[in-house]
Amino acid sequence: MNPRNLIPVCVVIALYLAPAAAGQDAPSPKTSSSRHWSMPRTPDGQPDLQGIWTNGTITPFERPRDLAGKPYFTQEEAAEYEKRVLDQNNRDRRGKNAEEDVAGAYNEFWFDRGTKVVSTLRTALVIDPPDGRVPALTPEAQKAAASRDAISRRLPEGPEDMDLPVRCLLWPTAGPPMLPSAYNNNYRILQVRGYVVMLIEMIHDVRIIPLDGRPHLSANGRQWLGDPRGHWEGDTLVVDTTNFTNKTHFRGADENLHLVERFKRTGPNTILYQFTVDDPTAFTKSWTGEVPFTRSTAPMFEYACHEGNYSMVNMLRGARAQEKAEALKKETK
């Protein structure tokens, strides 16, 4: 019989809190794990991660400068922060000027970012390095990022100048790592013999993660979402993903990105998701982020993107119109 089943819940909670150690005092997390909760398992004996989950949160990706040295909120600070951010982000608040107003896009009822900070009360999704900020890029990666940045600041010349979500190619919710965005932060996890499978709402991507120990694709097999391989370490699903392309540049990463994700069910309604970015040609050191996934009772819907992407044409036409107007202004000077 599996001795894992006999580990009392308090040990599970202790393990869950362990990554928070790093010399800081962690307040008790806002999880509601009851003393009687025990890890549900699939018929194969693996922890059951199945269901629909969401990772929406208003916790920022990196720790803001004005929260330096502060890895955790207190409950009161969290409530205050939530109130302030929700108020500031509320798109029913019109912009201070026309430019800001246009960028606000549309009403708040179209958004669904989540309303709360993460249940761990951390002040950022990045948890290592301890300052909660992504480590510096290597000089080469910095140069590449700077030229990409320059392109994104000028008028788009063609579709390739647009960002991946705008091109309907890839959203940060899919990544990987799978990170919350402005809306539709939903995932369905299924488990069958030999696989863990994750359906990501945007853009209907499916990560099919084999557990049978097969090797990764060869170096020629490059994919937008990489090539994942999974295995269990105790009750944690560890997913090792390589074979990325040079088209995604997650936070400045390159095609040598090696991503290790960990999924640990920590209660009836939570999975703690951690990811470690290992990419020595792009980052000066490895770094780790964490965002809890909580159970959702709402269905997922089809997100067909490219099929209805009128905005792509509109944006390019707008850019051409703006160029024309600017050229005319120059001529008449």
Partner: protein
């Protein structure tokens, strides 16, 4: 005589061993339902043309035989697609303009049942609550609700699928389609009234019998049915690879709006 007996027992032993092996390969799930998990693919010309057709020249002359359209036996029972008169004209128009009008060209989601018989593999992920089918082409995916299906709030490309078991057969009822997909490259099409009922029945361990009944009162005078085998991909370590073709069609779709470089 003895040798004959020996060979017979060896043969029987092999048959029994194979049967036992099949059992070990879990062709039934824990709940006693047929296990459709795996990677499957159709092996026919249905994506070219659902009806029986002879080979015909391709439409890109510079690519000659590489894009010629192969002949094939049809997948339609009775080989007739019962179009209403006005709809038949539209089908013919689709056929004539298929080089530009086929939504496959723009990497649009292929809809159902076309996703099943595009010449690329798909993976069935079967649990008791939902069955997810992930298709290689355009990364299409659909969720088949086996329990407590939600309501469908609007039309979609891959439809809204509700499934149940009838003995060894998975029956999937698909509705809520938009009118944007085609059934094949020959221009067979439907309206937003499309209703598809699929049936997946195991044929041994490595094949499925696939049937789909298609009903659309705005386009067809009666329901009609297609059927074909689906074959399990048997390669060791078979896996779906990404086929994110959106990137490949950007120039076609947006090239006209690109900044012109003045010489």
């Amino acid at each position: 005589m003895l040798i004959r007996l020996l060979w017979t027992s060896i043969l029987m032993g092999s048959v029994l061993a194979a049967a036992a092996n099949n059992q070990q390969r879990h062709n039934r799930t824990m709940q006693g339902k047929p296990d459709l998990n795996g990677i499957w693919q159709a092996l026919n010309t249905a994506n070219w043309d659902l009806q029986e057709h002879a080979a015909r020249a391709g439409l890109i002359t510079s690519l000659e035989a590489a894009v010629a359209e192969p002949g094939g036996l049809g997948a339609v029972e009775g080989d007739e697609i019962p179009y209403l008169p006005a709809a038949l004209k539209k089908k013919q128009q689709n056929f004539e303009t298929r080089l530009t009008a086929d939504p496959e060209i723009k990497c649009y989601l292929p809809g159902v049942p076309r996703a099943t018989y595009m010449p690329y593999p798909f993976q069935i992920v079967q649990t008791s609550d939902v069955i997810l089918i992930a298709y290689e082409f355009a990364g299409a995916a659909r969720t088949i609700y086996m329990k407590n299906p939600p309501e469908s709030p609007a039309d979609s490309w891959m439809g809204h699928s509700v499934g149940h078991w009838e003995g060894p057969t998975l029956v999937v009822d698909v509705t809520s389609f938009n009118d944007q997909t085609w059934f094949d490259r020959a221009g067979n099409f439907h309206s937003d009234a499309l209703h598809v009922v699929e049936r997946y029945t195991p044929l041994g361990h490595d094949a499925l019998d696939y049937e789909a009944t298609i009903e659309d009162p705005k386009v067809f005078s009666r329901p009609w049915k297609i059927s074909m085998p689906l074959y399990r991909r048997l390669e060791k370590n078979a896996q779906l690879l990404e086929f994110k073709c959106v990137e490949f069609v950007e120039e076609l779709m947006y090239g006209d709006y690109r900044k012109k470089v003045n010489k």
